[in-house]
Symmetry: C2
């Protein structure tokens, strides 16, 4: 199958179960952005982020024999919950390897969705070693969070839905970017469905590896690995599979501050009535506060996730 | 036209402009509720509440000559914003009469949506007198918030969408109830579209006029008129037009505490990633915390609005 055929096949599998999340807008946000602003609200997706799309695509696209034996994933966040629910819906088991210091609520949620959570100590244990051992012992299939064609094809459905939900012909589509699964998937989908739209990755300051990589042509690495409130989109660097797709289909990256992400969360609360997590709000922040770097009368942003605790959300509201 | 024809005619007019709001769910909420729980998320509607539906229905259903002269409404909240936006979209003017002590943000929002806001002093001025004078001087048409057939027909579209979005055949549909426009409209729509579903109004303690009225058979009056955090659904009593419809089509009412409404808001934040205001959360509260009073394997609730300020929302998160 060609890459585009992979995307359409994935959408056929996942369409009956994913939520077609709404494309929200507000005249008040249009005014701040200086143009029409449309927000694809993936925080309203099952498990609170777009990750469910890729996870369900991977589970439904695997061979039956492999699926039956179960899947394994590494994640401290949204991918974990997506895989757990997708596995449960397929009547199979999932093992999620999480750092022991991951937020309690994320561990509990992943367990509650039916996954077996294996905790490891970041300081003394090797995550990959634990994963390799469990995979070998039980015949589990590893589902990578972004460098996996079936996952990218699943995330691409966000792009197909955007094209179906609006008739915007030209302009920028801003996407919170971690490993690049969502960014490359949407870019690929839109290259066919709406070639006048240009996907651009958005990242927080100091974690702008994708932006720098698109400039240099190499997969640049972030100096820091943690300490960002935008934890959902912090990866050491973009993927081996995702980066060439981004090079081919994406425009230049955009960078926002953590402060701007928090302010964007507050605006989404006040004007759209949705809950976005810091990492999921960076694209909205770019549209609201960096309009001078955008083109077109309309900007489309993806609000990629909403898994934020009350304390952080309250902090964002105080920035509103 | 029959009442049902009015409903379908209204939906034909408003369908191109209203958001078909999603029917959200979470396995975590199902577990608390003890049954499948579906949340019709009208907080995601334009202007942040279902009121836009009735307002647009009224504006689009008026005679052209009247509409051109403009409309007038009394409201301190969601109806005001619905009317302001609907009037703007029809290229006509709106006058909203609001108490001078209404929250600043609601006054500002209503003005920003294009309405002329006329403030009055609750203590010394008569709202109806001001309204009558302005109507006479300018030929404005009064659009009542609930006792108006075109408005009820517009709110009924929430029921038509619920029937289209799920195949639940039997069970309770819980609706935050103020004057009864949404409650009676949805009940009427479902009586035809899904007669096995039973609409039941939900109110906060001490403001349970609809619940008591359905028991007594008379339009009972609340002793208190204000002081509830559920301000969006506080009315002296249900309407003259809405009450007979509720008597004919609704099941018994349910009553929740303010504390339960706040806890429901916190659950909606954590599990659905939506922002609900206290008055809009009472039906969800009943489903989560009064399951013993419900029937069926599935309960459907309407989250009717999300216009809440950061301070109140933070208070709700502290109840989570």
């Amino acid at each position: 199958m060609s890459t585009l055929e992979l995307i359409h096949a994935a959408y056929t599998r996942i369409k009956p179960v994913v939520r077609q999340t709404p494309l929200l807008s507000s005249p008040f946000l249009d005014e701040i952005a200086g143009r029409k602003l449309l927000v694809k609200s993936e925080c309203l997706q099952h498990t609170g982020s777009f990750k469910f799309r890729g996870a369900y695509s991977a589970l439904s696209g695997m061979e039956e024999a492999s699926r039956k034996k179960g899947v394994i994933a590494y994640s401290s966040g949204n991918h974990a919950q997506g895989i757990a629910l997708a596995a449960k819906m397929h009547g199979t088991s999932s093992v999620i390897i999480m750092p022991a210091d991951a937020p309690r609520s994320k561990i509990d949620n992943t367990r509650a969705l039916g996954a077996e959570v294996v905790l490891y100590d970041r300081a003394s244990e090797d995550r990959d070693e634990i994963g390799a051992r469990l995979s070998a012992e039980r015949g589990l299939t590893l589902v990578r969070p972004f460098d996996e064609p079936l996952v990218i094809a699943g995330q691409a459905s966000v792009g197909l839905e955007i094209a179906a939900q609006c008739d915007v012909a030209e302009g920028d589509v801003l996407i919170p970017c971690g490993g690049g699964g969502l960014t490359s998937g949407v870019a690929l989908a839109l290259s066919e469905a709406r070639p006048g739209l240009r996907v651009r990755p958005v990242e927080p300051e100091e974690f702008d590896d994708a932006t720098r990589s698109l400039v240099s042509g190499n997969r640049e690495v972030n100096e820091r690995r943690d300490g960002s409130i935008c934890d959902a989109i912090i990866t050491p660097r973009v993927g081996e599979i995702t980066f060439p797709l981004m090079q081919k289909y994406c425009g230049s990256g955009l960078v926002v501050t953590e402060e701007e992400a928090l302010r964007a969360m507050a605006h989404a609360f006040t004007r759209l009535k949705i809950v976005i997590e810091p990492g999921g709000a960076v694209a909205l922040a770019a549209a609201l506060f960096h309009g001078e770097k955008l083109n077109g009368d309309t900007v489309i942003v993806v609000a990629s996730g909403g898994n934020v605790d009350a304390e952080m959300f309250t902090r964002a509201l105080n920035h509103g």
